[in-house]
Symmetry: C2
Subunit: 535 residues, 2 copies
């Protein structure tokens, strides 16, 4: 047995670390695990930032991406957008300070919500290539400059060099960076798939992509309308924990609790304040900065007893049924789609969210495994951002798996089916910093299930129609094979002309199997029907 080591000695090595150092050591937590995934993570961070910036500035996004192979497992990535650019004053912090940004503290639906992503790319680039990233920015305020940026990881502070004025005319941000230990792969988990899905959930966006083989792809804008900008809003009382309430109260500039409640939270009127006062017995004229835990706890209990108007729904901007349908037709070209948008719901008591689900069948839906061999695929999205990894631990996957698809006539293992789910919210409870999966949250899983069952019901009608159609087609084909033979035999017996006999028989048979012979119309019908039911 070793001699007992004293605590003093053990703690000699005690140190504090910066968040940059932490993620430098644990880069897999940011999504930098595996060479293919690491490259997708880079594209994901840049593209989501561009989309958020364009939409916030009221610009229809146009994003250009080029990936070039510059060595073994080494690539250069260039992403440029037509967004508002980043002012000189903030460029270092926006791209080279982990946990800094405009998004973390806002109560507003956005793709990014952490202030980590783009700085994580800078960190990953310098860790793997030793290089700074190169940035060009032109803002609406006519700041036009380029510079090179890296992170001082010990301080979590930007290091900027090479500031230059440039001669670009249109606004936007352009980033060029090199990455090693990454790999471009044209697979289900690759960059191309990521961009395809981004286009699917963002039909208002135009994306041009040049891959390492110099092949150019364009995902054309399908809708000329910027998504309704979700408004920043106040939190709903039902989503507030005691701890939140105290923090808000202690920062309040109101002199009374009553004013504080009305100013800070959505749906709190002076009538509600009176109701709360009567219910909790708390003095609503007290200074909010002196609110203590027990009183705050009573207040939060009161929140749960009062009848509230539901959270505002204008703060959430789902994709929209029509837009999903247009985008899926555009990209998957399916035989059938059913789209369902649920009403806004709330989780953790008061954070509103909206689930959209769509099921498509045929065309490029699902995964093609071989000739006539398919499997279904799940397209997961959070605030329109595709989630490509960690599917096993995601609330969307859990909901999809819990559905008894067979009851709806859907064989999700073996049919060309795509299941599309998008969860929109002011706050998505991601399970990890890499934002690749939505944490198992009962309310969210339940809503996804309801949306899927709704969508599946519409699908069922179509599939039944299709199966009936198949049965008829098969019978028809079988009979027609006999008819051919019969015509020949009859011809020998009656010396009537073979083709003429065959024609008469065909007409006779066709009359009994109308669906098998009028393919076009029959195919269309259940779709219309189901489309209606999905609304």
């Amino acid at each position: 047995m070793a001699e007992a080591k004293k605590a003093d000695e053990m703690f000699k090595e005690f140190k504090e670390h910066s968040i940059s150092e932490f993620f430098k050591k644990n880069k897999q937590m940011l999504g930098y695990a595996g060479m293919v995934r690491s490259l997708v993570t880079v594209i994901h961070e840049y593209v989501t930032n561009s989309l958020d910036a364009c939409e916030e500035a009221g610009i229809l996004p146009f994003i250009n991406i080029r990936i070039s192979n510059i060595g073994e497992n080494k690539y250069s990535v260039a992403v440029s957008d037509n967004g508002p650019g980043i002012p000189k004053k903030y460029i270092g912090k926006a791209l080279a300070t982990i946990l800094a940004g405009t998004k973390f503290h806002r109560y507003m639906q956005q793709r990014g919500q952490q202030g980590i992503g783009a700085s994580g790319c800078t960190l990953f680039s310098q860790m793997t290539t030793g290089k700074q990233i190169k940035v060009k920015s032109v803002t609406g305020n006519a700041e036009r400059y380029s510079c090179s940026i890296s992170i001082d990881t010990v301080q979590n502070k930007p290091v900027i060099s090479d500031y230059k004025d440039i001669e670009e005319s249109s606004t936007g941000l352009s980033i060029e960076a090199e990455f090693a230990t990454v790999k471009y792969e044209n697979s289900d988990h690759g960059v191309y798939e990521y961009l395809k899905r981004t286009a699917l959930a963002n039909p208002h966006t135009e994306i041009r992509f040049v891959d390492p083989d110099n092949k150019e792809y364009t995902f054309i804008r399908a809708v000329d309308e910027i998504p309704k900008r979700p408004k920043p809003t106040k939190p709903h009382p039902l989503g507030i924990s005691v701890n939140d309430l105290i923090e808000f109260a202690h920062k309040s500039e109101s002199r009374k609790i009553s004013g504080f409640l009305e100013d800070t939270f959505a749906r709190v009127s002076s009538a509600k304040v009176n109701e709360l006062g009567a219910l909790t017995g708390l003095d609503m004229k007290k200074d909010p900065r002196k609110l203590e835990w027990d009183d705050a706890e009573r207040m939060v209990k009161g929140f749960k007893q009062v009848k509230w108007v539901a959270p505002e729904t204008s703060i959430i901007s789902p994709i929209g049924e029509d837009q999903i349908r247009v985008a899926m037709k555009n990209i998957l070209n399916p035989d059938f789609i059913n789209v369902v948008e649920r009403k806004p719901s709330v989780f953790y008591g008061g954070i509103p969210f909206v689930v959209e689900a769509a099921i498509s069948f045929g065309g490029n839906s699902g995964k093609k495994l071989g000739d006539e061999e398919y499997s279904g695929s799940i397209l997961r999205f959070a605030n329109r951002v595709p989630l490509l990894f960690d599917s096993g631990s995601c609330a969307i996957t859990q909901a999809v798996r819990s559905i008894q698809w067979k009851r709806y006539g859907i064989d999700i293992e073996n049919q060309p089916v795509s299941v599309f789910v998008n969860v929109s919210s002011v706050y998505i409870p991601y399970s990890g910093v890499g934002k690749e999966a939505i944490a198992s949250t009962d309310e969210i899983i339940d809503e996804i299930k309801l949306a899927l069952m709704d969508a599946a019901r519409g699908m069922q009608r179509y599939i039944r129609g299709k199966q009936q159609f198949n049965v008829e087609t098969n019978k028809y084909k079988t009979i027609m094979r006999y008819a051919k033979r019969l015509s020949k035999d009859l011809n020998e017996l009656t010396s009537e002309e073979e083709t003429s006999i065959e024609k008469s028989i065909s007409t006779l048979v066709a009359r009994h199997y109308p669906k098998a012979t009028e393919k076009g119309e029959t195919d269309g019908q259940p779709e219309e029907e189901a489309d209606q039911s999905g609304k």
Copy 2:
């Protein structure tokens, strides 16, 4: 279309945030998602810290845990150990500063490796109850005090109050904290199961646990030996990235690259330095603080060409075959166990790790679903710490699922089988901050697979023996049913005594089915055999 919003306006709200604020908002990333899981996370953080501290101090761990229900979804948790305590000077930082500690920067196998866990508990306690945690510490240096601690989340700094001297005699740390939005549940994912598995992987530990119903459980120490303390070590050249090399070089106190390499890395002799110099053409007399990326890149390439002695294995402390066998017999009481310990291997090129795997059959192995209905269960561990959540995305689960168990005669879906895997390493690449799953790392998955296949082969022999035994038993039983009838008939025909005839027939039959009649010995034999093969 909204009017274009200028970048300046958008960036007005730019802010920086502390890591405490980040985890306060994203507590699910620390494992605080779901009420049952949140309580397990608390126990997990305190128990791993206690075990690490005891072992580092050379003390056989004895841990006392009490969980009491103090309100609706509100519990008080008390954890005390016989470890070395924490000096006054460090207590605030150790328990109330995220990313501070002794573990993050050490190159040494430990359970904790982040400097987040215990401070995360403090944060979660104050967020859900508004209270400080209560701490008592007695160090070997005879500091005896109690105090209350919370975190100033904006600053990520401790807030300490109520320092008092106390009269405790033996060293150790004791923490009492309250938590809300948590729930005690006696399930597969609950605290009891967590502690049972902790005992399984730490047979040198004694754990006493009082549950909310005041029921007391003791997991008795099965082995009176502190695990061989893994030595802090130097990194192996093969595990070094260019970026690491430069950082080490720039911090070096050596005047020449040659000295720097010998001092900083394991297995670098002056002969190796000469070899590297010849191979890379680099001047080994240069100042390491002036090492630049291109030269460092050449050096790292050189590292990969030189033939190295493998990383030291004394830096890894696996549980050990005998200890796993003792612990599994103790806790699962199986009919059969096969344990395999692989030789140390490396991942990411140079980080050594060891995989241990065991398969047990019968007794309390697997999960009992009903009468004679079972399913297999996977017991995942990293550095002896049980991993209870996020199993889907874990390298261990992926490896287990990739094995074709049927080939080994094992029906993992329907048999009472437990598959035990422990990965030990100086650095475990966890997929998230909550440390609940090992990221998919090819080298690690491959090693786990090899260990499992090895263990399964031994198992196969046992199961075949068992099946053969079953076949014989069934035949024997069938024949004996007839024998009984035959004796009766013969008795009528020959008037010889029935029992005497039955006895003769039995002896005759038994001679043909020896295994079916000598249960005890036959059962033992394949176990011994397989045990040998596992070594």
